[in-house]
């Protein structure tokens, strides 16, 4: 199954770590948004229920009882890799990991295993994935959500909250918002989302909210050129003023020399025809202008 087949209102979803405090709260918020949560998983807690959702001890049991094809993980960082393996082995097709601080070698292992299993992994350290009004897998704030024509992909959660909030205030909204996370090793990268946004009829233009470090923005620029991506692309790159050699919060936000630098990203994106803006206000104005002239 591909992402567009999975991101539907009726797709059954299981929650790993469902009996934890944060998971309980977010399960309620996700269900209020329309997400079809059908099962929870917490080892040793089979037979319990959270707000009427049955809890199982294993993903296999949850899958057998509910036919869930999406799993969202609310588990501690050191347990993510094992929980991910269990979810993927049970046959999950889309795995979303919101947990921060997952060791990078663990992420590499999950990434390879998800690919072997033909599954999609989004995260770690992501606020999640949402089609506003249809499905929410994560904790994007409702104040930043509105159905609309903009496809949003973001490394940072909070910066995307800000951008999407201002989109909503400007009367715009999101076709799909996918947080890929700020870690260097992750399940899904910006460039891998171009096919989804390109084929999605709701998406009229795409916004990539990037930041310094790694090569993801440069890969996106290359993919836009290689695929001759036809929809307008806008980008914001945070970290222009960041000092080299310091990791600014996100594990991936580290610049060594020219590699991963702000200038390298802006150069690559601009050459690919992406409209790169330097403030959130400029980005919103640029999107509005682009939509008005389309």
């Amino acid at each position: 199954m591909n992402l567009s087949e999975l991101l539907c209102a009726d797709t059954p979803v299981m929650v790993q770590g469902a009996t934890g405090h944060a998971a309980r709260r977010h399960m309620a918020l996700m269900r209020r948004h329309g997400t079809n949560i059908v099962a929870g998983v917490s080892p040793g807690r089979a037979g319990e229920a959270v707000d009427g959702i049955d809890i199982h001890s294993t993903c296999a049991a949850a899958r057998a009882a509910s036919a869930a094809v999406i799993a969202i993980q609310f588990v501690p960082a050191r347990q993510v890799a094992e929980a991910a393996r269990e979810a993927l082995e049970s046959g999950i097709k889309l795995l979303v990991t919101v947990t921060e601080g997952v060791p990078v070698h663990d992420s590499a292992r999950i990434m390879r295993f998800a690919r072997e299993r033909g599954a999609i992994w989004i995260g770690p350290s992501t606020p999640g994935v949402t089609i506003p009004g249809v499905i929410k897998l994560g904790f994007m704030p409702d104040v930043s959500l509105n159905p609309g024509p903009i496809g949003v992909m973001s490394k940072s959660g909070t910066l995307a909250y800000e951008v999407c909030h201002r989109l909503v205030r400007a009367g715009l909204g999101q076709s799909t918002w996918i947080g890929v996370g700020g870690d260097p090793v992750k399940g899904t990268r910006f460039s891998e989302l171009l096919d989804y946004f390109g084929a999605d009829p709701r998406t009229k233009s795409v916004v990539a909210i990037g930041e310094i470090g790694g090569m993801e923005e440069e890969e996106l620029a290359q993919a836009i050129e290689d695929k001759r991506f036809g929809k307008p692309c806008h980008c914001l790159v945070a970290g222009a003023s960041a000092p080299a050699g310091k990791t600014l919060g996100h594990a991936g936000a580290l610049v060594h020399g020219h590699h991963g630098s702000f200038d390298a990203k802006v150069d690559a994106l601009s050459q690919a025809g992406v409209s790169v803006q330097h403030t959130v206000d400029e980005l919103i104005a640029d999107i509005q202008t682009s939509l008005a002239t389309a």
Partner: protein, 384 residues
Amino acid sequence: MLLLEHDAKTLLGHYGLPAPSGIYLKAGQNYSKRTLPPGPWMVKAQTATGGRGNAGGIRTCEQTETLDPVRRDLEGLTIGNLPVHGCRVESRVEFEHEGYVSLSLNTVTGLVDILVSPVGGVQIESAVADGAPLHRASALPERAAIIAAGTPLIDTLEGDPQALHKVLEDLAAAFLDLEAILLEINPLFILPDGGCLLGDAKLVLDGNAFSRQPQIESLIEDRSVDYPEAHLKQHHGFDFIVTDPNGAVGLLTTGAGLSMMLCDELKTRGLQPYNFCDIRTGGLRDDPQRLVDVLNWLCCASHTRVILVNIFAGITDLAVFAALLVRALDELSAPVLPVIARLTGPNAARATRILDSSQLDITVYPDLGPALDAVDQLLATSSL
């Protein structure tokens, strides 16, 4: 996190990887001559950044009499915005060749990339662009796989095959055991007898894995001056980085990306942020201590004149946050600077009422633009 060369060489030594004999001397630290390795020496400024050679951070020294003057010269340097807090004094080595070897975690494939070149001691990218050979292979992050893929590459170097194979085996063990993202030996000295020594070592480790790397946690604990940000995170559980000691705007903010962007937007307006901060409001847990710490650091900084609080809360109850902020400001040991706060999220209206009625010098805005305008205006007014 990039380790100092000295720390990288010390750690790699535990895996059987030999470097020239050397000691680390903190800036101004006295030493006895018998603790020095055999001279003559290379005196190498220790900063966690590249380009030390080009910045004049590596010097030769023939005699003990000139060692302190050379150290003083290096300790006065700032390399890549980082002050030099100490030097590694290392025996100078007569080598036959220099090579390049690196292992890195490929973020796209999840495999380990192995690179080997007979050209070492130079900027490898530019050397390869000029035609120098660079041999590449990839392997699963497993010791046997790295050795199998890397052996044909390391065999291209001139040296004793047995010594070279041992270097590869030990590098693989260290890379996996330390959960490294990059382990680069450049140059790898190849000695006249075919043996190998690490000329320089660049080791980038994964901060997310430190909680299961006790030796790294203990290194950070011992060396707060050299790894201030990692030390702070280890003790306090959040990120706080002084980006400009002369900055006028102290930031108490949450969210890494939004905090980075805020620094950028302040600079675009011609304002100087003092710091980056991702305080993680979810980790406050009804305790104001994190806020007290950050506010004290900001109020004690030499040039800060205003504090900007920016919280875009997903689920954090802002009324709870506001009450904690008032408690924290009451507990401050330093004189309190004016505070401009932008709060968006659950219970923002109640949070604003709490702050407005606190008798403290706090102005609250629901949006970032007007909050930045207020910072701008306050600094302009106070500088008149």
